[in-house]
Every structure is written in structure tokens, then in C-alpha cells.
Amino acid sequence: MKDKIMHGLKSIGIPRLTIITLLIVIYIAAYVLKLDVAQLFSDNLVRMGMNGVLVLAMVPGILAGTGLNFGLPLGVICGIIGGLISIELNLTGLFGFVVAIVASIPLSILTGYYYGKLLNRVKGSEMMVGTYVGFSVVSLMCIAWLVMPFKSDAIRWPIGEGLRTTIALTDYYDKVLNDFMKFRVAGIDVPTGLLLFFFFMCFIVFLFLKSKTGLAMIATGSNNKFAKASGINVDKSRMIATVVSTILGAIGILVYAQSYGFFQLYTAPLMMGFAAVAAILLGGASAHNAKIFHVIFGVFIFQGLLLAALPVANVIFPQGNLSEIMRVVVQYGIILYALTKAGGGQ
């Protein structure tokens, strides 16, 4: 019996146990401090849904052996451009959202293709190169946002040149997924549409991973010499993974934005990759292996921690600045912890 428990604990992994414990402790603290736990949990579900697809974007890269996709901002930017096109066309509601996705996909494919080409040239240091590709492209886009030929008043600054730093979606497709079939149970708001969309995307990726192409990708990531000997085109597999990851990044930011209510331009996409990396690592993935379960579980606990830790810290440290500092410490602390413990349970 004792062995079985030990085995069970081992299979979850110490890092996971630590984080789960921490999350539970924070929720208990929130209850003790008389915070609205039901509301916290509702927000937790929303956060999970809105970040989920971005985290899912990590899976193809990890499985194909290009590692964690720190170049996620590339996909994010493609998604934002798709979203802006939809606004420019003055489309609203679910239709506007779908057009945003459709518009972003060709862009993501193109971007993913060139990004994949680059990654194929720097085998072995994809994560490092990806990080800096993300940084450079975000910076480059800071110029591009200023000169893009969008005409809509919702997108441009009312005076001067260039696009706004934040673009409100209130009149377009704000919360189209969140509010779809939304219901309330035991004080908890369940964003049905958002969660359904997230699980649907997970399912699509799951199917993809069980296809011939997906399995070729997994073989490539698992052992590229084996893949080569099995007649698999290693570079092509990695390329496909990068393209898929970029597309998921684009869809991910659109899901995120519709829930958040704004597009954030300029330097905002910079750190998008890090939060997604942290979430999937916390979920139990490593730089070489990831499952869909890691995505769902990881994004739930990571976002839960970030979300719940802030109000709790706010109450414990009433000085305004301190809680903000705490939040940053907690966020990057978790990322660091997740990266160092990435090897954890199986």
C-alpha cells in the first residue's frame, strides 16, 4: 500500500506536488482572508481558457525536437494582424472572430515557414535562437505598427500617426467565446464557449499527433537518426511543427484578446512565450516530451497561482507597490522553478 502511494507520488513528480500544494495553500489562505473564492475560481477557469491555446502551441515544437517555442511572439503578432484585419473590415461578433482566425492563418504559415527554416539551420540551440528571434521581431514590429496602413478609427490613434497601443474590442468580438453558453453554478461562472474552444483545439492537436505526419514529427523529436533511417524527412517534420506552433500561437492570442477585451500592440507580445513555457513545464512536460494533459493541467495551475497569489499578497502586504513586486517575483519565480525542474515526473 505504502509502495503504491509512493509510486503514485513519484509519477506525479515532486515539482508538480509542490506547486499543487502551493495552489491549495493559496486558495485556503484566500478563504481564510475572506476573499471571494468562487470568484477567484471563476477567474481561474477564464484564465485557463484564454491562455490555453497559447500553451498548446508549445506541444508541436517540443515533440518535434525544436524544444520550447520561445519564438511564440511570432505567432502572436500574426494573430494580432489577423485580428486587426477583421476590425478593419468592421466585422463583429463570432463572425468577426472567425475571420480574424482565417486571416491570421496564411500569415502564420508564411512566418512559421521562414522561422522553421531558421530553426533548421541552428539545430541544437533552437530555444536560445527562438528567444532572440522573438525579441527582435517584437522590436521590429514596434516600427511596423507605426506605419501599417490600417484606416479604422478603432485601430489608429485619433491624432498623429500609427496604431494605438491597446485596441478595445468592445464593439467587435469582445468575449464572444466567454459568453457563449455561459452559466453559473454554485457562485462559479463557467465560460463554456471558451473552454469548449480550448478543448476542441486540444482535440485537433491530439488527432494531428496520431496522424502519419504527427507520428513522423514525434519520431523526429524522439530520435532524429531513427527518423532519418525510417525515411522521414527530418527538416520537413521540424518545419511542419514550427508552422503548426505558429498557427496555434496566432489563434491563441485571438482567444486571449477576445477574453481580455483588448489587443495589446508594441512590446506586449514580448513575454507571451514565457508564460506559456512556464505553464506547460509546470504541467509536467519537459523540453523533449509533452502531452495534451500537460497543457490542460499546466495552464490551470500556473494561471491559478498567478491569479490567486495577487489578491492574497495584496491583503497580506497592503502597501500597493509591494504586492505588485510580489506578483512579478511569483511569476518569474514559477517560470524559473519550472525550467529548472523540467525533468520531473513522467
Binding site: 502519419k212 514525434i218 537518426k225 533511417a229
Partner: protein
Amino acid sequence: MNNIMLELKEISKLYGENQVLNKVSFSVEKGEILCLLGENGAGKSTLMNILFGMPVIHSTGGYAGEILLDGQVVNINTPEKAMELGIGMVHQEFMLIPGFTVAENIKLNREVTKGNPISQVFGKDYRTLDYKTMNRDAREALDKLEIGIDEYAKVEGLPVGYMQFIEIAREIDKKNIRLLVFDEPTAVLTESEADNLIKAMKHLAAQGIAIIFITHRLDEVTACSQHVVILRDGGLVAAKKTSDTNTVELAELMVGRKIEKLVQNEENRNVEKSETIISMKNFKVGMPGEMVKGIDLDIKRGEIIGIGGLAGQGKIGVANGLMGLFPASGEVTLNGEPLVLNAPMASLKKKLAFVSEDRKGVGLLLDEPIDLNIAITAMQVKDDFLKKVVFFNQIDEAKVKRHAEEMVKLFDIRCTGTEQKTRRLSGGNQQKVCLARAITLEPEVLLVSEPTRGIDIGAKKLVLDTLIELNRKKNMTIIMTSSELAELRSICDRIAIVSEGKLVGVLKPDDSDAKYGLYMSGKTDMPGEVL
């Protein structure tokens, strides 16, 4: 008898349960060249590692027996100690820094220095190099070898043959050097370079330095040595005066072992008359460490052909080249049609299947389950194990599992279930998975490299039996590459011996040991018959 410099007494060494050296004794005289002969795995390297006090020996429990230097028992427990005692080694791979001059390389880590103001303050590490003395010393060492390289030339760009001499010069520049070990120095040299090297060795021996010369080339043995010691399977087979023996006898002693025939002589088994299935012309493969430098070979349908030879001579490269895993060139036809080289998929589509010698590196997805390992290649190549789901193709998991279960039964793969990860299997069971994967492709030609390396006897027999069965029942042509000559001779119809990247000749399994030994050392004529 005072002349004896080094004496080894009953040296034994166990690696775990594995006896790699069994009571080996011999002695080396001052100023003589002694040749150490033996196949790969005979225990030569282990013996030399003991002599040099390499950490690998002492971290695995040390050795038994005594080493006597000038009649004194010495305990060589570190390489530094060996150096102190005047034992030097010339490595097969060059350990030289290309950007440094010849003199700098020779003096590496033993630089001659002189003081300067900075070193007075900051200590010895900041002393200036005394290039004059260093160059003079280097010149002296090079002159001893009678080699005309400029000591101030940079090493990069020098011909390979010269690099060996720089290595040697580095050893003899050590003032107390008394015993030099040459570990297969001629393997990478051309014939004329090798001749030069042997000349230099003789020259050194004449100056009183004892030399242990490890080589595979039998004619070099007779050309330079006074004594020859032959190891086989960790034991001393013979220690002879070179003048009392000849290359034929040496070859026989080196190879000779009992051969267990797994296949009884069958009548009307005459594969040589059947049609050619694969024909290679001037086939070259750029596989690092196993270069194939132009082979012409016809393989007949339905035969088991062995490819043998010593390690590093190119035998491994042949199969890897045919499968497109390493850059290959030349003309290869399969069933009369040209085979597209350098494209693994093309080879696989032409019904070639490969069981790699590098089981863990190439042969398996270690973190994936057994069933996927077995099925994935057939899935990629033949779209097998797939089912259509709307517009997606999906892996047919039930079929994959069913097939894996059949294979587990067929090969007696010991596992907890077909979903077990292959990393957790033993070497023999991993090999069976590799073989199962290859057979799942239903190949016309099966290429197996080192199929029994590192697996236990039971698994070995099963693997070999399976190969024979596949050959006899399905008329599968099998190209088997192996370092174990005995194994090749037990199941093959013909055996092609490769040496230095070229085909030396094709032998019959029942040809004499001497012939095999000679072919492996790259010679086809039998000097013994002339004598």
C-alpha cells in the same frame, strides 16, 4: 637476460563478470620491437590501459598480476606515474593543436620558459616561452626520427603522415623515455608513410628504446619486429620469435577459433548461380570512421552474404551507404534498376530494410513503446497501420498492437507488454524489436549490422536462427555485417572481407583460418605458399 626491460606476469583483468584478460605474460627487451597482434576485442587495448595506469582500469577494480620494469615490481596507478617511469604512447588519433607550430606541439605542457619582470611578481604561470630552446629540442627529437619537417611550421596543413611523426617526436622528446607503445599507428597512413614510420621505429629501437607495436598488418610484423605476441579472447595464444614464424601462421593464430556451424550443409544450395539482386560498382560511402573507398560487389538473390573485416576498415559503411544514411556515391543497381543513393526513403521503398549496428542511436525510439517502434517505419514507408477518419489519417492503434503482440510472440521479446518503452528492455530484446521493425517492412533485402553485438547467447542464437529462417522460407536476401568472423562463417553463404575501405576478396565459410587472417589484414596472396 639483463636485457629485459619490461616484464608482464600473469596479467588478468575482469570487467564485471567479463574476463577480458586471462593470465597474459610476456616480456620486452631493451631496444627491440615487439609486435602485439590480435583481433578487435582480443584485449590489446585493455593491456595497454593497464600499462599506462589508465583510470578506467582502476575504477573497475584494478588488475591481477605483476608488472616488472628493470626487474622491479612497479605499481602504475596513474598515467602520470607511467610517464615518470618513461613509458610513452603514440596515439592512433592525433592529439595535436592545428594552430600551433610543430615545436609548440612537441613541447605542449612541457614548455621551456624563462623569467621576466611580470613573472617575478605574479608567479611561474607568467614566464615567457623560451622559443629558442624549444625549437632546438624539437629539432633534436625530429632529427632522431630523421624527419625533415621544419620545427617552426604550423601543424595545420601538414600531411597526415607527418602528424604521426610529431606525435612520436613529442614522446621521444621526454628525456627519460624508455618504452614506447605504438597503437595501430599505420592504420591511417599510406604505404610509403608507413614504411617511413617503420624505419623511424627501427631507428629508435637502435637507440635502446623498447617498442611495443600494435598493428593488424601482418607484413609489417615480419618487416620490423624481433618478437611477436598474439592475443585472442583475452588469452595469450603465442609468443614467438618473428624469425620462427610467417604471416600465414600468424594469421591462423590470430583468427583461429572453433566455428559452430548453425546451418548443416544443404545440398543444392548454390546461390552463386542465381541472379544478381544488388550490384555495386565503385561504391563509396563517407561514413566517418568507416569510410568505404570504392567497392565492386554483386549480391545474389536469396543468399546470406557476410561483410567482415576489422573495425574502422569500412565494413559498417556498406550497409549504411546502401540505406542512404551517409553520403554515398558510385553505381548501385537493384534488380537491374539504378538505386537512388543518399535517400533513405528511396531505399526503403525499394524494399531494403536495415537493422542498424547502432541500436540505441539509430535503431530505436527509446522513449516510445514497443508497438510504435515496430510499426512506425512501415507506416511512414508503406502507409501501413493507418486508417481514414474523415479527412485525417489516423494511426490504427488496434492493428499496431495486434502486430506488436505477434512479433513479441515470434521473437520471444521479454517485456511487460507492448506498451513498454524500449529504453527499459535489455540489449537482446531491443535487438529483437529492431529486427521486428525491419521484418514488418517485408523487405526483399535485409541488411543487418552487428546483429549480435552486446546481447546474450540465447538471444544471439534466436537472432541468427531467425535470419536463417527468413532466408530459407521467404527467400529473403540478407546482407549481414559483423565483427565476429565466427558468426559470419556459421550462417553465411559467402563472406566479403573489407579492408581499408576496399573489398579484399570474397571467401567461403569453410576457407582456412589463415586465409581469413590474411584477407583481414588486407592481403590476398599467400606468402606461405611461396616459402
